[in-house]
């Protein structure tokens, strides 16, 4: 069932062109690239886990604030209106665009929440002596949440909408607007400080839990 691992853990197959190569030992901040297709294979980060943890925690707090206060408001001849991120999706839903509403909710609310939540769980799990297996599961699915989390795209969209509306009405930027801009940078920093290889190297192996060939690794994995 499980494949035989190679003893040499510095060997790596490039994910973009499949060239088998050896990873050099890197200094913090340095990166290794594939000699054939120039894909960045690994970038070593200094104090990766602690920095990522701090940034993720900050991102989680900002995320909660961003989704609970109004983002945009406007006044026009004495009348006022305001909306939150979720309010925008809700309005689409009520006006017959349920699919688009789900997409907006997914890319602007759910995926960022998963991105932050997964990262928090990964970093907390990785702080243990021997990170448990579920850390690996989250680590494997984390890139997907990152692909669909589009807060920075939303902020550009909001900017364009602001300019459009400014022709008709006075726009009042809400607290969430500023918080979301900070969140964009926090998420980028969180992502670039994280070194997944460091976590993979310490994680508890799946094979240890398998009934066959368990023996030695179970004893090593449980304190």
């Amino acid at each position: 069932m499980y494949n035989e691992p190679l003893a040499d853990t510095t060997l790596i197959g490039c994910p973009h062109c499949d060239l088998l190569q050896r990873l050099p030992e890197l200094a913090p901040g340095a990166s290794a690239r594939c000699p054939r297709c120039d894909k960045e294979l690994w970038r070593r980060r200094e104090d990766s886990l602690n920095r990522t943890f701090a940034l993720t925690l900050a991102a989680a707090l900002f995320y909660i604030v961003a989704n609970s206060v109004p983002m945009l408001g406007l006044t026009i001849v004495g009348r006022a209106a305001s909306t939150t991120v979720i309010g925008g999706a809700e309005h689409l839903w009520q006006h017959g665009q349920q699919m688009v509403a789900v997409l907006v909710l997914l890319t602007a609310v759910i995926a960022p929440a998963l991105q932050i939540g997964f990262m928090l769980a990964i970093v907390l799990g990785a702080h243990r002596e021997r990170p448990p297996r579920w850390v690996g599961t989250l680590l494997r699915h984390h890139p997907t949440t990152r692909t669909w989390s589009m807060i920075e795209v939303m902020m550009l969209g909001v900017l364009v909408a602001l300019i459009k509306i400014a022709d008709y009405a006075t726009v009042i930027p809400g607290v969430a607007l500023f918080v979301l801009w900070v969140l964009v940078f926090l998420l980028a920093a969180m992502q670039s400080n994280f070194d997944s290889r460091e976590v993979w190297e310490r994680i508890q192996w799946a094979e240890a839990g398998a009934p066959a060939s368990a023996g030695n690794r179970v004893a090593e994995g449980t304190p």
Partner: protein, 212 residues
């Protein structure tokens, strides 16, 4: 007499035994990773078929996305519907032209460029091309990186519609084109996800082995 060399079973029919040997190998499962328990495959499963399917679906949706209105503005004077392109024109002003350009790029040029670029990558990979590999992998990375920005227009319309609710003065509602436009963005993103960039290099690596 020597038997003829095996031929590619794919569309191009070229005599490339090396590239042909890759076909049965594609997507075949090879046990699990002992570290993360993921079921391993040599390549992404059915990459060509899936990418083509998503891509054709995206190209079909691209037409209604640009023809149907994405926003309907109702004022005391009556209702007016705008397509994506009309939205770009409306945004064009002495001060707002940079944003107008951003929307033009994100909503019209990026989706069409993405569809063309992926079709080019698929066709060259399927024909076992060994030319311009570095440029093709760069093109793939560019498509992967830039694709998400097409969502800008969906967000613009979402928040414009959500805010301008001042009946009976003025109200803005999302139009049917928005669904198709969102579909184009999602389908092209799925197409990029299902394309396996290693397919670009397969023909090259087998040649390297042969002529080494």
């Amino acid at each position: 007499m020597r038997p003829p060399p095996p031929r590619c079973s794919r569309a191009c029919r070229a005599a490339r035994p090396a590239a042909c040997s890759r076909a049965p190998r594609q997507g075949r499962k090879k046990g699990r990773c002992p570290r993360c328990a993921e079921e391993l495959t040599f390549r992404k499963t059915a990459s060509f078929q899936r990418t083509w399917a998503f891509l054709i679906a995206a190209a079909v949706c691209y037409i209604p996305a640009n023809v149907l209105p994405v926003l309907t503005t109702t004022t005391a004077a009556g209702a007016e519907s705008d397509t994506i392109l009309q939205g770009v024109v409306l945004l064009w002003s002495p001060t707002g032209w940079p944003l107008s350009l951003i929307v033009l790029f994100a909503s019209i040029m990026i989706p069409s460029a993405k569809i063309l670029a992926l079709a080019y990558l698929l066709i060259t990979a399927q024909c076992g091309s060994i030319k311009n590999n570095t440029q093709r992998i760069r093109l793939y990375r560019m498509v992967e990186f830039i694709g998400r920005w097409s969502m800008v227009d969906v967000f613009v319309d979402t928040f414009t519609a959500a805010l301008i609710q001042l009946q009976p003065l003025m109200s803005v509602e999302p139009g049917p084109g928005l669904f198709f436009f969102a579909a184009v963005v999602v389908l092209t993103m799925l197409a990029v996800e299902s394309f396996d960039p290693r397919l670009i290099w397969d023909a090259t690596s087998s040649k390297e082995v042969r002529y080494a």
